[in-house]
């Protein structure tokens, strides 16, 4: 593949723009979806149907004073949101939006995205420890326990798809689904993937690390203004990446009739994001030990059995 410095620079600028635009859209979408599911309208004042609400919120957050607690570990406290946010730009690079639109075709693109997804939790842990706040510490500790429980089923899920396709490259996986989307062959795996992805992005019903009714605000208790907004930028961007992976691994990537590939990718990504929002506004929170039990005792065996069966079917 021919990569020129100019095209890589162009794609990085595009990714930065995408991350920003995505956050703007998702904040507005979340509030509208929440509003309509709760018998109310959501933002309506700022701009038609509240479209400019995110802009107003952004201005407010940027203009807030950055409060750093007295005894907090200053370097860790300031580094944590950055550690959460920066890997996103790298993780978006191998994501294919259509046959031709992709920042850089990596032959281990899938592995890169999953590895970089871990850095989100590292950011949460740094925030929890660096805040010098017991609630934040509990939130950070819970996030680490969460990774250990879900990462292995996620990896087994992904390995099953790789085994079916024979390549780590996201582009190849999407192209290999031209005969039929993977969700038709692996419906159970799709369900497991959606659950693990909700766990990975700390979304309800698995949002223990920021549980508002128990831990005041969890890992971001002490953050105000820009720090808080960086964490949320990171969360929404990880939702986008996770949904992007779901669409490539299971829903055939950019394939679809009539509309161009990019539009189909975006439709699929936003449908999965809508599904995750739907979960958030319907379900109460699962308890941490119930989630760990679910991850170790149910998700792991189910994905393992699925993997073995797939291996057996492919061998025949």
């Amino acid at each position: 593949m021919n990569i020129s410095l100019l095209s890589v620079a162009g794609y990085l600028v595009g990714i930065a723009a995408l991350v920003g635009l995505n956050a703007v859209i998702l904040v507005w979408l979340e509030r509208k979806v929440a509003g309509h599911m709760q018998f109310r309208l959501g933002p309506m004042e700022v701009g038609p149907h509240g479209i400019l609400q995110t802009l107003a919120d952004g201005i407010k957050l940027v203009s807030k004073q950055l409060v750093i607690p007295d005894e907090a570990d200053k370097p860790l406290f300031l580094l944590a949101p950055v550690v959460s946010l920066v890997p996103i730009f790298a993780a978006m690079v191998p994501l294919p939006f259509s046959e031709t639109v992709q920042a850089w075709e990596l032959n281990i693109g899938l592995l890169l995205i999953i590895a970089l997804g871990l850095l989100n939790t590292l950011g949460i842990l740094l925030a929890g420890w660096g805040s010098n706040n017991k609630y934040a510490l509990l939130g950070g500790a819970r996030a680490v326990a969460q990774i250990l429980a879900y990462k292995i089923p996620l990896l087994i899920c992904v390995m099953t798809i790789i085994m079916m396709t024979g390549s780590f490259s996201l582009r190849d996986i999407a192209i290999a689904q031209q005969g039929g989307w993977n969700v038709l062959y692996q419906p159970l795996l799709f369900i497991v993937y959606i659950i693990t992805v909700t766990l990975e992005t700390n979304r309800s019903p698995f949002d223990f690390s920021e549980a508002e009714s128990e831990l005041v605000a969890g890992f971001h208790t002490e953050y105000s203004g820009m720090g808080f907004s960086l964490f949320f930028l990171a969360e929404y961007s990880y939702m986008f990446i996770a949904a992007g992976l779901a669409s490539v691994l299971f829903l055939g990537g950019w394939q679809g009739p009539w509309l161009p590939g990019v539009v189909w990718t975006l439709i699929k990504i936003y449908s999965i994001i809508f599904l995750m929002m739907w979960f958030r506004w319907t379900f109460p929170r699962v308890r941490i030990d119930q989630m760990l039990a679910f991850g170790w005792k149910i998700l792991l065996p189910v994905s393992l059995v699925n993997f073995i069966i797939t291996a057996g079917v492919l061998a025949l």
Binding site: A34, M37, Q38, F39, R40, K134, Y135, L138, A141, R142, S204, P205, D207, F208, A211, E212, S213, E214, L215, V216, R280, W281, T282, F283, P284, R285, V286, R287, I288, D289, Q290
Partner: protein, 377 residues
């Protein structure tokens, strides 16, 4: 005696693994200004020590300085969610002391408004309990229906939350028939919407596992702590003041007292949901059997009860409220004691929270339906 230096609460075994967490006065999950000092081992609670008094207003001393009618607004502000029951308790206590008669129509309207208040309190509890467990939508759904009740009560009482509607001898003014029609319409509409509440929450498997077998209160603990209300009925003991010591005409109505044997959060949840339905039955019966007549009997302008004491018990949405008044013959009470239900119900929390996860402790607190200003008075 010198009590200026108080011994601090010491933990049984202190080591480096434990830490003290302040479930502080400001916390989204404590339903008011309740502070609980938790000694924790990771996520498990070793010891819970509630610290009260952040909302203490000395209501009992204030009542000694006010005349009997002047105490009415203070009483309603103790439990702002079930204000009409408190209002009823004070008014009935003084009526008992002075032996005032109350006309039947006034009694019936008192029952209707108190039961509507009970439904609105239970609706708010439902939303807040789910909010504690992390589900945000049920709260909004409950508030939508609660607004209808608040509108109905506002037409009659003039306030939305801290009602001060009843007077000694009856009610201040009559209610027109249009209001009764609107209440019946509300009941019909609410009965159709109630299955939705059960669809959203009661059948949800996440909610079931959060609430099942969490915070079991055993019946033999109940008497030692003086529990009352849905907490007690959720543990299998059938005690409802409206049955035990009927007041204001409750003996005329046919209603069941829901009791659940399990004693966990889910049991208390079911008791309250069934109580909402029973309250709807009571309101329907009261409206159906309402008679014409005066709404206030003749009482003297200056309330000067004879010397003596009286204890009046009333079933609030949280349990049994007892108002004990000692009168010395003057126009101001000599001593007023408010025995509030949440005070006794909260005293068992320290025992229940021991050994639980933090998330479970908050679920228990949510299922106990605390109103902290009531505890602090």
């Amino acid at each position: 005696m010198n009590r200026a230096v108080q011994p601090t609460y010491t933990l049984d075994k202190v080591n480096e693994e434990n830490f003290a967490l302040n479930l502080g006065p400001q916390h989204p999950g404590t339903h008011g200004v309740l502070r609980v000092i938790l000694h924790m081992d990771g996520e498990y609670i070793l010891q819970a020590d509630p610290v009260l008094g952040y909302g203490h207003r000395m209501q009992e001393k204030i009542a000694e300085k006010m005349t009997y009618p002047q105490v009415l607004p203070y009483v309603c502000r103790m439990d702002y969610l079930g204000a009409l029951s408190y209002n009823l308790a004070w008014v009935l206590a003084v009526e008992k002391l002075c032996q005032f008669e109350v006309p039947e129509r006034a009694e019936a309207i008192r029952v209707i408004t108190t039961e509507l208040n009970r439904i609105s309190s239970h609706l708010l509890w439902w939303g807040a309990f789910l909010l504690d467990l992390g589900g945000f939508t049920p709260f909004l759904q409950a508030l939508t229906d609660r607004e209808l009740i608040l509108d109905l009560l506002e037409e009659v009482t003039g306030s939305r939350l801290t009602y001060c509607y009843y007077r000694f001898g009856g009610l201040p003014s009559d209610v027109d028939d249009g209001w009764f029609t609107r209440v019946m319409e509300f009941i019909k509409g609410f009965r159709l919407r109630l299955p939705r509440y059960h669809d959203l929450v009661t059948g949800n498997v996440i909610f079931y596992h959060r609430a099942k077998d969490v915070g079991v209160i055993l019946p033999f603990d109940a008497a030692g702590y003086g529990l009352s209300g849905p907490i007690l009925r959720g543990s299998g003991i059938d005690f409802d003041v409206r049955r035990h010591e009927p007041y204001s005409g409750y003996e005329r109505y046919n209603f069941e007292v829901p009791v659940d044997e399990t004693g966990d959060c889910l049991g208390r949840y079911h008791v309250r949901m069934m109580e909402i339905e029973q309250s709807l039955n009571i309101v329907e019966q009261a409206i159906g059997s309402i008679t014409e007549g005066p709404v206030r009997s003749k009482v003297p302008k200056l309330i000067k009860p004879p010397e003596g004491e009286v204890a009046m018990a009333v079933e609030t949405p949280r349990g049994q409220l007892v108002i004990y008044i000692v009168s010395d013959g003057t126009k101001k009470p000599y001593r007023v004691k408010y025995r509030v239900p949440s005070f006794a119900n909260l005293s068992i929390f320290a025992k229940l929270a021991r050994g639980q996860l933090l998330a479970d402790a908050l679920a228990i607190l949510g299922s106990m339906d605390m109103v902290i200003p009531e505890v602090d008075r």
